[in-house]
């Protein structure tokens, strides 16, 4: 019997001969097949929770469960919780970036995260962001690499919240707001739904209140401020695109990301068309295109995944 124990230990250590290995594995399968175990009555739900809790305790950084509290945005049907823990990061290759993580929303689907401090982030389809697994230091800083995000920032006056995008650091003062950054168009836009944010531009801080929006041309640092519907802009977080007097090229970016298509304009003046429209993210692409074209006297032709907008010829 002692030999058998030794043999098993040897097996686990990977030091068996091939024959011994085959014998043991074969026996294991036969045991399993001939098992008299009755698994039908096992308390699966309880076990699942129980083992998970133990795994959590054993691992350095338990993934926190976020208790839902009342929040101002509509409920999202399901969440992707990426609550990162320090333990997860031990393997990051570049120690300098040890605490930082990158996440990219897939084409055609937005995703939602809850950050270390409880701040909620919606990252629209095709967007990318970087954020620290743990906020350390005096302020909470995240970075929008490209695309569109909506933030519901957890109040914490002692630790100001910053969103860096391009070279601009947006300072947040407890709020729900939206940032869009489309590097390919030199376009950066910040819209506030609730609360207040400050954007340093041209040497001074531009403060935005609810329903205010600033659009920056990142190439020239030119910017303009406008009054908009701050709730509409975050419609995509609840399955609606609400375009309120929005430029067609910006709408096109939303559609490109939502439907995984490419849009171009036969006539460059189309880019600056202002359009107001509301669509559901479940609407089919052809419905959406039909509606846009009909309402705005446009023609669009599809060439596979490539859509071309034209002016209607009268």
């Amino acid at each position: 019997m002692h030999d058998i124990k030794k043999l098993l230990k040897k097996y686990v250590a990977g030091k068996c001969t091939p024959e011994e290995q085959r014998l043991i594995e074969q026996w294991y399968q036969q045991e399993s097949d001939a098992s008299k175990a009755d698994t039908s009555g096992l308390p699966f739900e309880h076990l699942e929770k129980n083992i998970w809790q133990k795994v959590q305790q054993q691992t350095a950084a338990p993934a926190k469960r976020v208790a839902m509290h009342r929040y101002t945005l509509l409920r999202i049907a399901a969440l992707l919780l990426l609550i990162a823990g320090a333990g997860t990061l031990m393997w990051m290759r570049r120690p300098v970036r040890e605490n930082w993580q990158e996440v990219f929303a897939p084409k055609t689907q937005s995703l939602q995260l809850v950050l270390d401090d409880g701040t909620r982030v919606w990252l629209n389809a095709g967007g990318g962001m970087r954020y620290p697994a743990h906020f350390t230091g005096a302020d909470r800083k995240i970075e929008l690499l490209s695309g569109e995000m909506c933030l519901d920032v957890k109040q914490d006056p002692a630790h100001p919240f910053m969103v860096k995008s391009e070279q601009i650091n947006i300072r947040v003062l407890g709020t729900v707001f939206n940032v869009r950054h489309y590097p390919q168009r030199n376009f950066l836009q910040v819209t506030v739904q609730q609360g207040k944010v400050a954007v340093p531009l041209a040497g001074k801080e531009v403060v935005l209140l609810p329903d205010e929006q600033v659009t920056v041309h990142t190439g020239s640092a030119a910017f303009s401020k406008a009054s908009v519907d701050g709730t509409a802009i975050n419609g995509w977080t609840t399955g609606k695109f609400l375009f309120n007097n929005e430029r067609l090229d910006v709408i096109a970016l939303s559609l490109e990301n939502r439907y995984g298509i490419q849009i171009s304009f036969a006539d460059s003046s189309l880019a600056a068309y202002r359009i107001t429209a509301g669509i559901e993210t479940t609407d089919s692409l052809s419905d959406v295109l039909d509606m846009l074209c009909l309402a705005n006297k446009l023609n669009c032709t599809a060439n596979g995944q490539h859509i071309i907008f034209r002016k209607q010829i009268h």
Partner: protein, 193 residues
């Protein structure tokens, strides 16, 4: 509640893609892997040990190790096979180290003496997969559903695409649509609503 806002894309990912996400720091990917595999691994251990606590300990160890060593694991085949083998090793180790499993050892001893070495084959990954499938069938219906959906959507895109002569992209889309439709019929999927 809006179908299109359903954004948990983790269950459309293959096991290996989840592992990759986890390596890049996603705790959610780790949790998804746990959800997928804890049950089959538990059954695997339980069938041999017929001991709830010991089977629990083993599954817990397998996942704790996956968490701490996730970065350095080099998969020679599928993650499923890796987890199966990790569980098997721990079960065998337990048999060797706990007195309560003496009868297992005598059974093994008998097998060893009776075995005809020439007829023995290596256990292939394919066989492991078949066993996993069998274990999945022993899971309660609800768990099985999650598991099967995730596997069907993750593992066989290539195959289905090949069979139907469609692009993998198309297949993936159709499957995830199917999953989404189904999910909306199953209230228990909406985590926080």
């Amino acid at each position: 509640m809006h179908p299109s806002t359903y954004t948990n894309q983790l269950d459309n990912l293959s096991d290996e893609a989840l592992l990759e996400q986890f390596r890049q720091g996603s705790a959610a990917a780790f949790e998804e892997l746990y959800k997928r595999f804890w049950g089959v691994l538990y059954l695997q251990a339980y069938r041999i040990l017929i001991h709830e606590e010991d089977a629990q300990d083993i599954v817990q160890e397998v996942f704790t190790t996956l968490w701490t060593k996730g970065r350095s694991i080099e998969l020679s085949g599928s993650l499923a096979a890796y987890l199966y083998v990790a569980t098997r090793n721990r079960v065998l180790n337990m048999l060797a180290s706990k007195r309560t499993y003496r009868h297992h050892l005598s059974s093994l001893k008998q097998s060893l003496s009776a075995a005809d070495n020439n007829s023995l084959q290596y256990i292939t990954e394919k066989e492991i997969t078949v066993r996993m499938e069998r274990e999945i069938n022993a899971l309660p219906a609800k768990m099985r559903e999650v598991f099967e959906l995730s596997r069907k959507s993750a593992l066989t895109h290539k195959e289905i695409a090949h069979q139907l002569q469609l692009s993998q992209e198309t297949v993936k889309k159709q499957i995830s649509n199917a999953i989404r439709t189904l999910r909306h019929k199953m209230a228990h999927f909406s985590l926080f609503c």
